[in-house]
Amino acid sequence: MENKLDGNAAGGILQEIFPFDMTQVQATCTGCGRTDAIGALAVYMHGMGTVIRCPSCDTVLIRVAQGRGHYWLDMQGVRVLQINPEV
């Protein structure tokens, strides 16, 4: 059994970067077009970084790593984010 968690587990690292809760933001997958709250995505995280994948097609939506005081954020797998400021 691999270390797959729910999107919530990435809430901490994402909120180090974005000044709001990203787990309720809706993300559309470039692989299959599915739209989900980030909290519902599949998260693989360990000492090297956090990888967030589509639960349907496994496409990598978001990757985050940290080193020497910098964050590296790759969102190539996200077609669009829908952010509701009221949430």
Partner: protein, 203 residues
């Protein structure tokens, strides 16, 4: 915030050993074998598995699992070092050296990109994989390499940080221009020498 804070009484799981000289700077000794995965564990059936040499080579080569198993295998005992700071000493592997694989082809390339099931990639200069420095291994501690550790076959390049030893490797692509791989394109060092602590870009 909270700089300098130390948790009273916390040591963590690490053990310092008498093996000082074998542990690169910033590393600690690990007796287990942590599994770090960036995605679901692939389970390619051996009947469908193949291994390829691609890119600037002539001719491209492809081995089925049976053909790969029939290639000359070597035993390798080596230390491995993960950029997340654990080092594991005297690990035992068996596999086909990259020298053996490349001996069969002509190539005009300076770099190798390892490509794995699930899309993971990592890049290496050819001088880091030739001359007895790299293998494609299928056996760990005398047993077939388990899927969680990269089986049926993974790359083994123990003189560099272990993210370069790509799990679930399916091919080596030889190229003239370097192409940063999965972690190299996300802030990790392009080369990754643990003895020079080449962890992140700019180190």
């Amino acid at each position: 915030m909270s700089k300098g804070f130390v948790s009273r009484g916390f040591q963590g799981r690490r053990k310092s050993g008498g093996e000082r000289g074998r542990i690169p700077p910033g590393q600690y000794l690990e007796r287990g074998f942590p599994v770090l995965s960036a995605g679901p564990t692939p389970h390619t059936p051996l009947a469908n598995w193949d291994f390829s040499l691609l890119g600037e080579i002539d001719p491209p080569k492809r081995w089925t699992w049976e053909a790969f198993c029939a290639l000359p295998h070597e035993k390798v005992t080596t230390d491995i070092h993960c950029v997340t700071k654990w080092s594991k000493l005297d690990t035992h592997w068996e596999g086909v050296s990259v020298d053996t694989l490349l001996k069969q082809v002509a190539y005009d390339a300076h770099y190798m990109i390892a490509e794995s099931d699930g899309g993971y990639t990592t890049n290496l200069p050819l001088e880091d994989v030739l001359g007895g420095k790299a293998w494609v291994v299928d056996t760990y501690e005398g047993q077939p390499l388990s899927p969680e550790h990269g089986g049926p076959a993974r790359l083994l390049v123990p003189h560099l940080y272990f993210w370069k030893s790509a799990k679930w490797v399916r091919g080596l692509r030889l190229v003239r221009q370097d192409e940063p791989g999965f972690w190299e394109s996300l802030g990790y060092h392009n080369h990754g020498d643990p003895w020079k602590e080449e962890r992140y870009r700019g180190d």
